[in-house]
């Protein structure tokens, strides 16, 4: 029983070191890094409790110190991830507006591209071919309309002259 009591510092050191190493591995995996702070704190507590006990009984403190250092580093990594995730989550509120702006920009670009599009349709049916060329250019349409109007106007004029 006494022997078991005397080994408490060492046992706490082993527990702290194992927990600290597991915490370290968890902390560098982003998916679970955020919750690694919990075993990190447990490891720090275990090492902190074990250190004075080991000092009182003149036991080796190497494992306890190693556990404490690894646990502190792992907890810091985990804390940094909490900080980063928190910042990203705060910015995430602004994302819907940004996404809407991006969608609007894309829509505008598509409409602009469609305005300048040239469309050709070719239909083959039983040896007969029908080919339609058209342009969605507003400027081209306006020009064509003006030309047509000009021709008609001349025709009208000529008719009026005949009369």
């Amino acid at each position: 029983m006494e022997e078991a009591k005397n080994n408490t510092g060492q046992n706490l050191g082993i527990a702290a070191l194992i927990t600290a190493i597991v915490t370290f591995v968890l902390a560098v995996i982003p998916c679970v890094g955020l919750i690694a702070i919990i075993p990190g704190i447990i490891a720090i507590i275990l090492a902190s409790v074990g250190l004075p006990q080991a000092a009182r009984r003149n036991e080796p403190k190497g494992i306890l110190i190693a556990g404490l250092i690894i646990a502190i580093i792992a907890s810091m990594i985990s804390l940094s991830q909490v900080f980063v995730a928190g910042k990203i989550a705060r910015h995430a509120d602004k994302w819907p507006n940004e996404i809407q702006n991006v969608i609007k920009d894309v829509q505008d670009n598509v409409v602009k591209d469609m305005e300048d599009a040239n469309i050709s349709i070719k239909i083959d049916s039983n040896g007969d071919t029908v080919e339609v060329h058209t342009s969605t250019k507003n400027a081209g349409k306006e020009q064509k309309l003006e030309e047509l109007e000009g021709v008609n106007a001349q025709k009208n004029d000529s008719l009026q002259q005949k009369k």
């Binding site: 082993i14 070191l17 194992i18 591995v25 982003p30 998916c31 955020l34 980063v84 995730a85």
Partner: protein, 158 residues
């Protein structure tokens, strides 16, 4: 009050000695615990299948931020590697293989270092130093994409 006595036969004595040796040394306990943890990770990958998609561990980062992280799909990747579907595993997470190899190498390390530590107790200190350096290097190589990602993310946020 009668004392309870545990009688060991002559056959079980070497086994008892082995257990006593294992329990005496903290390094042995640490090796056994880590080997157990890695076996549990491999069992987790084997039990949960990518087809059923019944993994209990979810990405907390994605839940909080809505963005997938570097380690998303790691469980799927491990399960597929265990089942020998390496190509699919790469699709789920491109770093899955190197992390999986880290765990497998650590399992072999734990078993081998435990054996060496029992066989050569006088060189234990040297063994622990070699183990720490080797495992640390393998850890850095295997997890470097995640570590670099964390550093990059932290610097971007700052």
């Amino acid at each position: 009050m009668p004392r309870r006595m545990i009688v060991y036969s002559k056959k079980s004595e070497p086994l008892k000695r082995v257990f006593l040796k294992l329990g005496d040394e903290p390094y042995h306990i640490i090796n056994i615990v880590f080997a157990g943890v890695i076996v549990m990770i491999l069992a987790y990958s084997g039990i949960f299948s990518p087809e059923k998609n019944n993994y209990p561990v979810v990405c907390i980062h994605e839940r909080l931020t809505g963005q997938p992280c570097f380690s998303c799909g790691l469980s799927h990747s491990f399960s597929l590697i265990v089942r020998g579907r390496i190509q699919e595993a790469y699709k789920w997470n491109q770093y899955g293989m190197r992390v999986f190899l880290f765990f497998v190498s650590q399992l072999l390390f734990r078993i081998d270092f435990l054996r060496l530590s029992i066989k050569h107790p006088d060189n234990r200190r040297q063994l622990i130093i070699y183990d720490s350096i080797g495992s640390g290097l393998i850890f850095l190589i295997s997890f470097w994409p995640f570590i670099a990602g964390i550093i990059k993310g932290f610097l971007q946020v700052l």
